[in-house]
Symmetry: C2
Subunit: 290 residues, 2 copies
């Protein structure tokens, strides 16, 4: 079964009625699995996370985005999170049996659709049309307020839709990115310096594993130190390997692990490697799961 | 999301065209996940394994069973596997967020439907109407050939459908049972006696874990001994605990584990406990998976 994941970030986190109308538009007649609807009042932003067959995900995303463009007026928007449009960012993430090319087709079909509604659209990450458009941060720099000017520059001409700023909708970024695993390890210590040493052992930037971003944080409530990580390519740098390294580094310092956390959606394939490693069940295939 | 599993055993394993017609009837317009269609020519039997929302599973099972009753004539059936009817056995298995009561409702609705088609139906396992109908083996004893006589006995009067034998369809057993995990551990030894000692440590019958059935087998091809197990209630006696016990018993005898096998469909919830144990990720919830 092919599974594509979408994470649609819209610039509305306060009007719960409108958020419900968008959710209903997304799910209308769809065979989609809605994993999360996360609204933040301070950010004034909602993230819809859902998965399904690529065609279903595309159609649902079109319905959701069309409704968001109707309902959200960016000329009145304020919120703590950086943003540039009503439909702000829409990453499509290949989850199971979906190639990058198939995910790109969905992203491009969605971008063209949104462009046809009169929204300027930029492609990012794996869908980027130029290297300087790979990073969301670069595209969104200056935010909504600066886009009327930014779009006048040849280099920031949109990939789809009108070449001029649209005050009501703002602009949208869409594309394809790899699944990310947010993984935290909580240590039974309040020694932040030790935590920082352990981070060095696993973080790519300091000689650790490729595809690992990590920081050490204090959690004063629990009197613990947390190693907070993003694994950007769990296929190449799997969870269990990073965990086992943290375990040995921690134990060698006389510190124990309290527990770990996998935050937010987790690709089912990330568990396959773990099963094989811990249970030595090398023939196991996630397709066996029901 | 509610997930119910069904394993429909039909008495046709040779006529591939008819098996395909049954498969098509099952999947017609349905949102079902077809996990396996396993046909055996010697047994002259096919097992359809699929999962989905309880209502979808019920409707698909009705379509499949109706087609099987049309196509299969038991008066001409022969095969190595014990059987009593065209639609022989239909267990419904609660997989995720489905209570036993919900699964029982599906089994009873299916039984009543099949009865209305003129097929005698018996309920077994959790759906049994009498203690002596709990076991499939007891109900099916004597097989198809003896049922014309068996059904005349008051104690073997069917739960649904006609009280007389129907030569074309024979009779059907349906009900609810718990998910079963088939788990094998392969040892780097050809010492079967050692394997039998290890089996004693985990098997319920010899002082081991509840809900574990186990035997030791030789695998001559690989010069290995296999501990072959059925875990009948993985919720109470989880895979990782049985595995860790086998590991310590094996290592204490100077033997290593080569690998393990999970055979056939595996309930996704069985992995949750494993994740918590090995990764210490106690907050993890399988609903996070996509």
């Amino acid at each position: 079964m092919k599974v594509l994941l979408a994470e649609v970030n819209v610039s509305e986190g306060r009007n719960l009625e409108n958020i419900e109308v968008m959710r209903a538009a997304l799910m209308e007649g769809a065979v989609l699995r809605l994993l999360e609807v996360n609204s933040d009042k301070d950010h004034n932003r909602t993230v819809f996370t859902y998965s399904g067959e690529p065609e279903e995900v595309l159609e649902g995303t079109k319905r959701l985005a069309k409704k968001a463009v109707e309902l959200i007026d960016m000329t009145h928007h304020s919120g703590a999170h950086p943003r540039m449009g009503a439909v702000d960012v829409v990453p499509f993430i290949p989850a199971r049996d979906v190639t990058q090319e198939e995910a790109l087709e969905v992203a491009r079909a969605f971008g063209a659709f949104l462009g046809s509604l009169g929204v300027p659209v930029y492609y990012y990450e794996e869908a980027a049309t130029k290297p300087e458009r790979k990073s969301l941060v670069d595209i969104r720099r200056g935010e909504y307020e600066s886009f009327a000017e930014k779009m006048k520059q040849e280099e920031w001409r949109p990939d789809e839709g009108p070449f001029e700023f649209v005050p009501k909708s703002g602009a949208t970024v869409t594309g394809v990115r790899f699944p990310l695993v947010a993984f935290n390890v909580n240590l039974r210590t309040d020694d932040l310096a030790a935590g920082k040493q352990i981070v060095k052992a696993v973080r790519a930037a300091t000689g650790g594993y490729q595809n690992v971003r990590a920081i050490a944080l204090e959690i004063p409530d629990k009197k613990m130190v947390q190693i907070s990580m993003n694994l950007t390519q769990y296929q190449k740098t799997p969870i269990h390997r990073v965990f086992e390294t943290i375990k040995s580094e921690t134990e060698s310092r006389g510190i124990l692990i309290a527990d770990t956390e996998l935050v937010g959606p987790v690709p089912v394939m990330a568990l396959e490697d773990m099963m094989k490693f811990y249970l030595r069940c090398y023939s196991f295939n996630m397709e066996q799961l029901y």
